[in-house]
Assembly symmetry: C2
Homo-oligomer: 135 residues x 2
DNA sequence: AATTCGCTCATACTTTAGTATGAAATTATC
DNA sequence: GATAATTTCATACTAAAGTATGAGCGAATT
Protein backbone atom coordinates (compact mmCIF):
# COMPACT_ATOMS: atom_id res chain seq x y z
CA UNK A 1 0.00 0.00 0.00
CA UNK A 2 2.45 2.58 1.29
CA UNK A 3 5.27 1.43 -0.97
CA UNK A 4 3.02 1.82 -4.00
CA UNK A 5 2.33 5.42 -3.03
CA UNK A 6 6.02 6.09 -2.49
CA UNK A 7 6.83 4.51 -5.82
CA UNK A 8 4.23 6.70 -7.54
CA UNK A 9 5.56 9.82 -5.87
CA UNK A 10 9.15 9.02 -6.78
CA UNK A 11 8.17 8.41 -10.39
CA UNK A 12 6.28 11.71 -10.46
CA UNK A 13 9.32 13.51 -9.04
CA UNK A 14 11.57 11.90 -11.64
CA UNK A 15 9.27 12.87 -14.52
CA UNK A 16 8.94 16.38 -13.18
CA UNK A 17 12.70 16.70 -12.98
CA UNK A 18 13.14 15.36 -16.50
CA UNK A 19 10.56 17.71 -17.99
CA UNK A 20 12.08 20.62 -16.17
CA UNK A 21 15.48 19.65 -17.52
CA UNK A 22 14.13 19.25 -21.05
CA UNK A 23 12.99 22.88 -20.96
CA UNK A 24 16.05 24.29 -19.25
CA UNK A 25 19.07 22.42 -20.51
CA UNK A 26 19.00 24.13 -23.94
CA UNK A 27 19.69 27.39 -22.15
CA UNK A 28 22.05 26.19 -19.46
CA UNK A 29 23.99 23.19 -20.66
CA UNK A 30 26.74 23.57 -18.15
CA UNK A 31 24.40 23.07 -15.20
CA UNK A 32 23.81 19.45 -16.09
CA UNK A 33 26.14 18.27 -13.35
CA UNK A 34 23.98 20.08 -10.82
CA UNK A 35 20.82 18.32 -12.01
CA UNK A 36 22.58 14.98 -12.02
CA UNK A 37 23.73 15.66 -8.50
CA UNK A 38 20.21 16.53 -7.39
CA UNK A 39 18.85 13.33 -8.91
CA UNK A 40 21.64 11.38 -7.24
CA UNK A 41 20.89 12.87 -3.82
CA UNK A 42 17.13 12.45 -4.15
CA UNK A 43 17.41 8.81 -5.08
CA UNK A 44 20.07 8.12 -2.50
CA UNK A 45 17.62 9.34 0.13
CA UNK A 46 14.89 7.30 -1.50
CA UNK A 47 17.08 4.20 -1.38
CA UNK A 48 17.77 4.75 2.29
CA UNK A 49 14.08 5.31 2.92
CA UNK A 50 13.18 2.07 1.15
CA UNK A 51 15.67 0.17 3.30
CA UNK A 52 14.15 1.75 6.40
CA UNK A 53 10.55 0.94 5.49
CA UNK A 54 11.61 -2.59 4.57
CA UNK A 55 12.81 -3.20 8.11
CA UNK A 56 9.68 -1.61 9.53
CA UNK A 57 7.65 -4.22 7.66
CA UNK A 58 9.81 -6.99 9.08
CA UNK A 59 9.02 -5.76 12.57
CA UNK A 60 5.29 -5.62 11.86
CA UNK A 61 5.29 -9.20 10.62
CA UNK A 62 7.16 -10.32 13.74
CA UNK A 63 4.63 -8.55 15.95
CA UNK A 64 1.74 -10.24 14.18
CA UNK A 65 3.36 -13.60 14.75
CA UNK A 66 3.52 -12.88 18.44
CA UNK A 67 -0.19 -12.14 18.67
CA UNK A 68 -1.12 -15.31 16.82
CA UNK A 69 1.05 -17.47 19.05
CA UNK A 70 -0.17 -15.67 22.15
CA UNK A 71 -3.75 -16.56 21.43
CA UNK A 72 -2.98 -20.10 20.32
CA UNK A 73 -1.40 -21.13 23.59
CA UNK A 74 -4.43 -19.87 25.46
CA UNK A 75 -2.87 -18.03 28.37
CA UNK A 76 -5.44 -15.93 30.21
CA UNK A 77 -4.92 -12.22 30.84
CA UNK A 78 -3.83 -12.73 34.43
CA UNK A 79 -1.49 -15.53 33.47
CA UNK A 80 0.09 -13.21 30.92
CA UNK A 81 0.43 -10.50 33.58
CA UNK A 82 2.19 -12.89 35.93
CA UNK A 83 4.38 -14.29 33.16
CA UNK A 84 5.44 -10.80 32.14
CA UNK A 85 6.51 -9.78 35.63
CA UNK A 86 8.08 -13.20 36.12
CA UNK A 87 10.09 -12.65 32.96
CA UNK A 88 11.39 -9.42 34.40
CA UNK A 89 12.97 -11.24 37.31
CA UNK A 90 10.44 -10.55 40.05
CA UNK A 91 9.69 -13.03 42.84
CA UNK A 92 6.19 -14.29 43.52
CA UNK A 93 5.88 -11.95 46.49
CA UNK A 94 6.94 -8.95 44.40
CA UNK A 95 4.47 -9.89 41.67
CA UNK A 96 1.73 -10.22 44.29
CA UNK A 97 2.53 -6.75 45.62
CA UNK A 98 2.55 -5.20 42.16
CA UNK A 99 -0.78 -6.74 41.16
CA UNK A 100 -2.38 -6.29 44.61
CA UNK A 101 -2.98 -10.02 44.93
CA UNK A 102 -2.03 -12.65 47.49
CA UNK A 103 1.03 -14.77 46.90
CA UNK A 104 -1.26 -17.79 46.79
CA UNK A 105 -2.98 -16.40 43.71
CA UNK A 106 0.35 -15.82 42.03
CA UNK A 107 1.38 -19.38 42.75
CA UNK A 108 -1.88 -20.66 41.30
CA UNK A 109 -1.41 -18.67 38.11
CA UNK A 110 2.22 -19.77 37.96
CA UNK A 111 1.40 -23.45 38.18
CA UNK A 112 -1.33 -23.09 35.58
CA UNK A 113 0.81 -21.23 33.09
CA UNK A 114 3.64 -23.72 33.62
CA UNK A 115 1.24 -26.46 32.58
CA UNK A 116 0.09 -24.53 29.53
CA UNK A 117 3.64 -23.70 28.48
CA UNK A 118 4.75 -27.25 29.30
CA UNK A 119 7.63 -26.16 31.55
CA UNK A 120 8.83 -27.04 35.04
CA UNK A 121 9.86 -23.67 36.50
CA UNK A 122 9.97 -19.92 35.95
CA UNK A 123 13.34 -19.96 34.24
CA UNK A 124 12.07 -22.33 31.60
CA UNK A 125 8.88 -20.28 31.35
CA UNK A 126 10.98 -17.21 30.65
CA UNK A 127 12.85 -19.05 27.91
CA UNK A 128 9.63 -20.40 26.42
CA UNK A 129 8.06 -16.95 26.44
CA UNK A 130 11.11 -15.62 24.64
CA UNK A 131 11.04 -18.50 22.20
CA UNK A 132 7.37 -17.96 21.40
CA UNK A 133 8.02 -14.20 21.27
CA UNK A 134 5.16 -13.50 23.67
CA UNK A 135 6.70 -10.17 24.69
CA UNK B 1 37.74 3.87 6.99
CA UNK B 2 35.44 1.79 4.81
CA UNK B 3 32.91 4.59 4.39
CA UNK B 4 35.67 6.88 3.11
CA UNK B 5 36.59 4.34 0.47
CA UNK B 6 32.95 3.91 -0.53
CA UNK B 7 32.54 7.68 -0.71
CA UNK B 8 35.59 7.94 -2.95
CA UNK B 9 34.37 5.19 -5.24
CA UNK B 10 30.91 6.72 -5.52
CA UNK B 11 32.42 10.11 -6.36
CA UNK B 12 34.61 8.49 -8.99
CA UNK B 13 31.60 6.72 -10.49
CA UNK B 14 29.65 9.97 -10.56
CA UNK B 15 32.48 11.86 -12.24
CA UNK B 16 32.95 9.07 -14.75
CA UNK B 17 29.26 9.12 -15.59
CA UNK B 18 29.27 12.89 -15.97
CA UNK B 19 32.30 12.89 -18.26
CA UNK B 20 30.82 10.11 -20.31
CA UNK B 21 27.61 12.09 -20.59
CA UNK B 22 29.48 15.26 -21.54
CA UNK B 23 30.98 13.47 -24.53
CA UNK B 24 27.85 11.63 -25.57
CA UNK B 25 24.89 13.89 -25.02
CA UNK B 26 25.76 16.14 -27.97
CA UNK B 27 25.15 13.16 -30.23
CA UNK B 28 22.24 11.58 -28.45
CA UNK B 29 20.20 14.20 -26.65
CA UNK B 30 17.08 12.08 -26.41
CA UNK B 31 18.81 9.44 -24.30
CA UNK B 32 19.16 11.80 -21.36
CA UNK B 33 16.29 10.12 -19.54
CA UNK B 34 18.20 6.86 -19.71
CA UNK B 35 21.29 8.38 -18.11
CA UNK B 36 19.21 10.07 -15.44
CA UNK B 37 17.59 6.74 -14.74
CA UNK B 38 20.94 5.03 -14.47
CA UNK B 39 22.19 7.66 -12.03
CA UNK B 40 18.98 7.32 -10.03
CA UNK B 41 19.30 3.54 -9.79
CA UNK B 42 22.99 3.66 -8.94
CA UNK B 43 22.50 6.12 -6.12
CA UNK B 44 19.40 4.39 -4.87
CA UNK B 45 21.47 1.27 -4.46
CA UNK B 46 24.24 3.33 -2.87
CA UNK B 47 21.78 4.83 -0.38
CA UNK B 48 20.52 1.40 0.53
CA UNK B 49 24.08 0.18 0.88
CA UNK B 50 24.98 3.07 3.19
CA UNK B 51 21.99 2.29 5.39
CA UNK B 52 23.06 -1.35 5.49
CA UNK B 53 26.69 -0.62 6.42
CA UNK B 54 25.53 1.88 9.04
CA UNK B 55 23.66 -0.86 10.84
CA UNK B 56 26.57 -3.24 10.48
CA UNK B 57 28.72 -0.74 12.37
CA UNK B 58 26.13 -0.51 15.11
CA UNK B 59 26.32 -4.27 15.53
CA UNK B 60 30.09 -4.28 15.66
CA UNK B 61 30.11 -1.64 18.39
CA UNK B 62 27.58 -3.63 20.38
CA UNK B 63 29.69 -6.78 20.06
CA UNK B 64 32.78 -4.98 21.29
CA UNK B 65 30.84 -3.80 24.33
CA UNK B 66 29.98 -7.40 25.11
CA UNK B 67 33.57 -8.51 25.20
CA UNK B 68 34.62 -5.61 27.42
CA UNK B 69 31.84 -6.23 29.89
CA UNK B 70 32.47 -9.96 29.88
CA UNK B 71 36.02 -9.52 30.99
CA UNK B 72 35.28 -6.68 33.40
CA UNK B 73 32.79 -8.59 35.51
CA UNK B 74 35.36 -11.26 36.20
CA UNK B 75 33.32 -14.43 36.25
CA UNK B 76 35.50 -17.51 36.55
CA UNK B 77 35.32 -20.36 34.04
CA UNK B 78 33.24 -22.56 36.31
CA UNK B 79 30.92 -19.72 37.15
CA UNK B 80 30.43 -19.12 33.43
CA UNK B 81 29.73 -22.83 32.93
CA UNK B 82 27.09 -22.80 35.64
CA UNK B 83 25.58 -19.56 34.39
CA UNK B 84 25.32 -20.93 30.89
CA UNK B 85 23.45 -24.05 31.95
CA UNK B 86 21.38 -21.99 34.36
CA UNK B 87 20.41 -19.73 31.47
CA UNK B 88 19.18 -22.77 29.59
CA UNK B 89 16.64 -23.52 32.28
CA UNK B 90 18.38 -26.34 34.13
CA UNK B 91 18.00 -26.87 37.89
CA UNK B 92 21.00 -27.01 40.20
CA UNK B 93 20.75 -30.80 40.36
CA UNK B 94 20.70 -31.10 36.56
CA UNK B 95 23.69 -28.78 36.27
CA UNK B 96 25.54 -30.84 38.86
CA UNK B 97 24.85 -34.01 36.86
CA UNK B 98 25.99 -32.45 33.61
CA UNK B 99 29.25 -31.13 35.06
CA UNK B 100 29.87 -34.21 37.25
CA UNK B 101 29.87 -32.08 40.40
CA UNK B 102 27.95 -32.15 43.64
CA UNK B 103 24.92 -29.92 44.03
CA UNK B 104 26.77 -28.15 46.84
CA UNK B 105 29.41 -26.97 44.41
CA UNK B 106 26.78 -25.68 42.03
CA UNK B 107 25.17 -23.75 44.85
CA UNK B 108 28.50 -22.23 45.82
CA UNK B 109 29.18 -21.13 42.25
CA UNK B 110 25.63 -19.85 41.98
CA UNK B 111 25.88 -17.69 45.07
CA UNK B 112 29.23 -16.33 43.97
CA UNK B 113 28.12 -15.42 40.50
CA UNK B 114 24.97 -13.83 41.90
CA UNK B 115 27.18 -11.55 43.96
CA UNK B 116 29.35 -10.69 40.99
CA UNK B 117 26.37 -9.99 38.77
CA UNK B 118 24.64 -8.14 41.61
CA UNK B 119 21.42 -10.14 41.35
CA UNK B 120 19.17 -12.02 43.78
CA UNK B 121 18.23 -15.17 41.89
CA UNK B 122 18.76 -17.20 38.74
CA UNK B 123 16.01 -15.49 36.80
CA UNK B 124 17.65 -12.12 37.29
CA UNK B 125 21.02 -13.68 36.51
CA UNK B 126 19.60 -14.91 33.22
CA UNK B 127 18.34 -11.42 32.39
CA UNK B 128 21.65 -9.87 33.38
CA UNK B 129 23.58 -12.32 31.26
CA UNK B 130 21.31 -11.49 28.35
CA UNK B 131 21.68 -7.78 29.02
CA UNK B 132 25.46 -8.01 29.14
CA UNK B 133 25.28 -10.35 26.16
CA UNK B 134 27.53 -12.86 27.81
CA UNK B 135 26.27 -15.67 25.55
C1' DA C 1 -31.46 -22.02 35.09
C1' DA C 2 -27.41 -24.55 34.63
C1' DT C 3 -22.80 -24.76 33.22
C1' DT C 4 -18.36 -23.36 32.05
C1' DC C 5 -14.40 -20.44 32.68
C1' DG C 6 -11.45 -17.20 34.79
C1' DC C 7 -9.97 -15.02 39.05
C1' DT C 8 -9.27 -15.10 43.70
C1' DC C 9 -7.72 -17.00 48.16
C1' DA C 10 -6.50 -20.56 51.34
C1' DT C 11 -4.11 -24.68 53.66
C1' DA C 12 -0.79 -28.10 53.65
C1' DC C 13 2.91 -30.06 51.86
C1' DT C 14 7.34 -31.20 49.12
C1' DT C 15 10.99 -29.61 46.58
C1' DT C 16 14.30 -26.44 45.11
C1' DA C 17 16.96 -22.34 45.70
C1' DG C 18 19.92 -19.56 48.10
C1' DT C 19 23.07 -18.03 52.22
C1' DA C 20 26.70 -18.59 55.62
C1' DT C 21 30.63 -20.75 56.91
C1' DG C 22 34.47 -23.67 56.82
C1' DA C 23 37.90 -26.49 54.77
C1' DA C 24 40.94 -28.96 51.59
C1' DA C 25 43.17 -29.48 47.03
C1' DT C 26 44.57 -27.38 42.80
C1' DT C 27 46.23 -23.84 39.91
C1' DA C 28 47.97 -19.23 38.72
C1' DT C 29 50.75 -15.58 39.66
C1' DC C 30 54.30 -12.92 41.55
C1' DG D 1 58.61 -20.96 46.96
C1' DA D 2 55.03 -18.14 48.89
C1' DT D 3 50.70 -16.04 48.07
C1' DA D 4 46.32 -15.52 46.04
C1' DA D 5 42.52 -17.18 43.49
C1' DT D 6 39.89 -21.06 41.90
C1' DT D 7 37.59 -25.25 42.46
C1' DT D 8 35.58 -28.59 45.07
C1' DC D 9 32.76 -30.47 48.82
C1' DA D 10 30.29 -30.35 53.13
C1' DT D 11 26.82 -29.06 56.96
C1' DA D 12 23.19 -26.38 58.53
C1' DC D 13 20.00 -23.28 57.91
C1' DT D 14 16.34 -19.95 55.85
C1' DA D 15 13.66 -18.51 52.07
C1' DA D 16 11.33 -19.16 48.03
C1' DA D 17 9.19 -21.94 44.60
C1' DG D 18 6.11 -25.24 43.17
C1' DT D 19 2.15 -28.89 43.67
C1' DA D 20 -2.34 -30.58 45.14
C1' DT D 21 -6.67 -29.63 46.47
C1' DG D 22 -10.72 -27.19 47.54
C1' DA D 23 -13.81 -23.40 47.54
C1' DG D 24 -16.27 -18.97 46.67
C1' DC D 25 -17.45 -15.46 43.29
C1' DG D 26 -18.79 -13.20 38.94
C1' DA D 27 -19.35 -13.06 34.01
C1' DA D 28 -20.37 -15.20 29.87
C1' DT D 29 -22.39 -19.04 27.31
C1' DT D 30 -25.72 -22.59 26.15
Amino acid sequence: MKSTIVYGISMAVLLFLLKWLEVKYLIMDNLFELYAGIIAIVFMVLGAWFMYSLQQKKQEIAEKKQIIQNTEIGLSQRELDVLELMSQGYSNQQIADKLFLSIHTIKTHSSNLFLKLDVKNRTQALLKAKELEIF
